[in-house]
Symmetry: C2
């Protein structure tokens, strides 16, 4: 929301704070992208970017909110916008490709999802469940398009396929990070092949 910074700057004020928050966010993204979220405590990242840990708490409320903000900001700026008619599988394959360059962000994502499953992490839970819900909705829409235009088999439910594609992407990414011999790309290709409409004749 760049507009917000503009508006509030005029009337006196905490424009500096907004800018500072953005600066902290940018530096944090760099740190996470290269170091992962493991050895990255609230204090460690504060030290790294030259502020006190209390400053981070001030701007982001808690460690978990900082993590969510970092992940969302970095995935917003990651990669070009996808064309409206891109196939869901191509989207996922493309995202897998760009993710290989920033393992730290994938670690961050994975730890946020794990935290979201716990009972007492409302921030992570809200982040993960809305992300999955939005992704399912968006992908299902694309899938219906593909089915209508005959580029994907039409005998399967779009939302179920969307959930399946998301699950496969996340899970294969994980397997590949743990063991580079895991057939991430091959498995995605298999799924794409399975979703192809049956050849009408041959």
């Amino acid at each position: 929301m760049p507009d917000d910074a503009q508006r509030t700057a005029r009337r006196g004020s905490y424009a500096k704070g907004v800018a500072r928050r953005q600066e902290i966010l940018d530096r944090s993204i760099e740190v996470f992208a290269e170091r992962g979220s493991g050895r990255t405590s609230l204090r460690a990242i504060a030290r790294e970017i030259g502020v006190t840990h209390a400053a981070l708490s001030h701007y982001f409320g808690s460690l978990e909110e900082l993590l969510v903000a970092v992940y969302e900001a970095s995935s917003d700026k990651g990669g070009e916008p996808v064309p409206d008619d891109a196939s869901p599988m191509d989207m996922m394959i493309e995202s897998a490709r760009t993710n290989r360059d920033v393992p730290g962000l994938v670690q961050l994502y994975s730890s946020l999802v794990a935290a979201a499953l716990e009972d007492d992490h409302p921030v992570a839970h809200a982040f993960a469940s809305t992300r999955f819900a939005n992704l399912r909705h968006e992908l299902a829409e694309r899938i219906r398009q593909q089915q209508r235009s005959g580029r994907m088999r039409a005998d399967v439910d779009a939302v179920a396929v969307a959930a399946l594609v998301i699950a496969a992407s996340d899970g294969l990414q994980t397997q590949w990070l743990l063991d580079e011999s895991a057939p991430q790309h091959e498995a995605l290709a298999v799924l794409e092949h399975l979703l192809q409409p049956p050849a009408p004749e041959e």
Copy 2:
């Protein structure tokens, strides 16, 4: 290894220690199954089962090793042994069914996998990568059987399908835990449908 306990009991002994370790493990499984791994620190679980946190360190070395031991012990005892000719998809569907009763163990599994992705968690990394490698190998074997007997389409690579099935199971489990309206069962059914051999005639 019950044999070990027997043998060493004879020669004077730490049979008591082995039994105690097992007792701690059993109690820990109960605690995790109902509470999850979130609010369950080394000290909290020690308090819960009536020992000091130092005793847990003594038997398990570190928190992470305790977590791995708890997960492995509980998944060993979870459910009947699967018949040799069970279909891979049926295995995963069955496992999804039993997992619904023990969300705490799924949380534990998820947090172990997330930790495994970090750079400085060798114990979790060893656990997760060997688990995935073994699962892929075992599932691929079953898939080849199914392909040979004509119960699964044969135009896809068995290892890639194995990785895909594992990823789908894990990812859908996660989505469902975050949001019960996620189509876990439907998506697994879709995958099963896609893997069916094409009808020879109709």
